[in-house]
Symmetry: C2
């Protein structure tokens, strides 16, 4: 793998990226909502409520940083989402081959 | 109302205080749990989840400070709980009359 990270993105690539990011964010937040609903439904003690609060604090911080759509960061953003299973490589079809290779390699790190 | 705040508490008064504080904390956190359950049950969007997170952050901070059981603070703690409706004066029966008068006066401020 080359150490050069591609930074130029075409208009089409940006469109694909935005669509994929939106989809991944929806999936991840939907999963979080379900998880919290489940935890809250069976909750008895206030201590468990604070655990849910801790989970939300952590996920909110995580989500705020993770969906970085700045062009120089996109390769890393996608690699992270791929690694965590929120996207798959096929969804990124249309991006230049070099970028796909970088994303794929970074996701395995 | 005198400007002197009573600071000496008998063993019996401490016992009453601890019992009342525990009860009030249970009431307030139970109400919070119900409120959160209700909000989460009808929740659709992740933005609403962040609103619940904000509510929990605020309530947790509030609760951490409010249930101050240090002797010199008890009069203020009870006044606040009385004002917010988490306790009533009758539950404090057994405390010295001066303390009850102070709590009652502070709660009306």
């Amino acid at each position: 793998m080359s150490t050069t990270i591609t930074t130029g993105w075409t208009e089409t690539e940006i469109e694909i990226s935005e669509r994929v990011l939106k989809k991944a964010y929806e999936r991840e937040t939907k999963t979080l909502v379900e998880k919290v609903k489940n935890k809250i439904e069976n909750l008895q003690q206030v201590e468990e409520l604070w655990q849910v609060h801790d989970l939300l604090s952590s996920k909110r911080y995580d989500l705020d940083g993770k969906y970085d759509n700045r062009e120089p960061m996109l390769v890393f953003t996608f690699a992270q989402l791929l690694k965590e299973g929120w996207i798959n490589l096929e969804e990124l079809t249309g991006l230049e081959k070099g970028k796909l290779a970088q994303i794929s390699s970074l996701a395995r790190m």
